[in-house]
Amino acid sequence: MSKTIYELVDDLPERNLTIFALNSLDFVIPGQWQNLTGFENTIREITGETDEAIIQQIGDRAVWLYNDKSQGYQQALWLYQTIDRAGSALGSAALANKVGEKIPLLGFLNRLTPKADRAQTLDLSLKLVVEIVAYCRINGIPGDSIGDFVAALVDNYTGPSLMRMSALVCFDGLIPLGTNFLSQVETTLNNLSPKALEDNESYQRIHDSIPGNSTTGKLEFINRSFESVQGWMGDLVRDRDLTAEKVADRLSSFIDFSEGKLDYLAAFLDVSTNYYEHTGIQTLARSLIERAVAEI
């Protein structure tokens, strides 16, 4: 049986490689993400509520909303989980005893395969699509105009959503592809054939959830998704003066790797972390609780 919403939030880990990796990005968005775990704890933090009877009502309403499949929350969770499971070959089991000590990347080299640039750019684009589709499943399409929608989307980039987008830029953009990753994504998407898209493993998993009647239509949606947040990502890189080396430097506090192996570092993060799922559950819980407290 699948987990209840309170189990999902209660079971969020407090200490593992994903959390270490995300905490290393605190320099990108200082103080803006705390690893908020536990369902009741999340209700208290988000609403500031202390009245136990009200907390009960909020939690109950959130459970009801989550379990109503027509409300889209379960689909959003599935998307966050599915896009993250593209290659978790190493998984947490192999690394469970590594938490607390510095992980030597050298020991994993024979089990890691860096992605070709095109596959990496496509993965990044598909994660962005998941971000936008999951956003719409969770929050609907707020406001009355495209402007309202984009304002709501970007305004949503706080807390766990902001951390997820920053991790996307750093771990799926800068480290594997370098500082000009945005132009690489643009070039790949502009030259991508529908057939090449269909061959991509992540696409095969989530294509039913991407708007569009055909592969060509879905490819257009992917392009538009990228265009809508490209500016935001570029600003983040520019404003923070981000480089692959700066991000890697922060990761070196718990991963031991040699310079020039950034593609292996990216592959390692890809298979050993699940930051989309982790922060996705936090994002989902936040919206759900904000709605529940309004509806009681």
Binding site: E49, Q56, D155, R291, A294, E295
Partner: protein, 172 residues
């Protein structure tokens, strides 16, 4: 003998692990809602509830108001001042949510003629025609109960009242 002690100790440990692993964790306080909401054919939101987008025009007109959620029977916006989230504003269709409506029965106060209640320590709700709930929730300690009432008045409450009347007539 020390050998035997070791064996006994490891058995005792194994037994202890078995017992603790098998004892069920205490049920969650949300277990009942989980059971009730996963029965066949139950829904959280009535199909008859208004589309959330129909509520947008009744929100306070201000550049500080940023829409954040729009689902069936529900629309929400954030009130931001100097980049800081001060409050959330929402309109909800309480169609068939009798528990939420019942809390207004003992209301002694009104804003613009509509019953008002304090909900918990951070929220103020207002009920229109037993159908729509307008709520302002503080998200910053500086945003007081009187601030919440002030912002309740900035909604187009009369417009929502007209929609409630029209909705009631449709359903008759």
């Amino acid at each position: 003998m020390p050998h035997l002690q070791k064996i006994l100790a490891s058995f005792a440990l194994a037994f202890l692990l078995l017992v603790t692993a098998c004892s069920p964790s205490p049920p969650s306080r949300f277990e009942q809602a989980q059971q009730e909401s996963t029965q066949p054919k139950v829904t959280a939101v009535s199909p008859e509830a208004k589309a959330g987008g129909e509520f947008n025009r009744f929100f306070p007109q201000s550049k500080d108001v940023v829409f954040s959620q729009e689902k069936r029977g529900f629309a929400q916006a954030k009130l931001k001042q100097d980049g800081k989230e001060m409050a959330t504003l929402s309109i909800v269709d309480l169609n068939d949510n009798s528990a939420a409506i019942a809390k207004y029965e003992d209301s002694l106060e009104t804003v613009a003629g509509y019953p008002v209640v304090e909900v918990g320590s951070t929220g103020t709700g207002l009920l229109i025609d037993n159908r729509f709930q307008v709520k302002v929730l503080s998200r910053d300690p500086d945003f007081s109960s009187s601030d919440r009432r002030l912002w309740l008045e900035k909604f187009d409450l009369a417009g929502l009242g007209n929609m409630a009347v029209a909705t009631g007539e449709e359903n008759e």
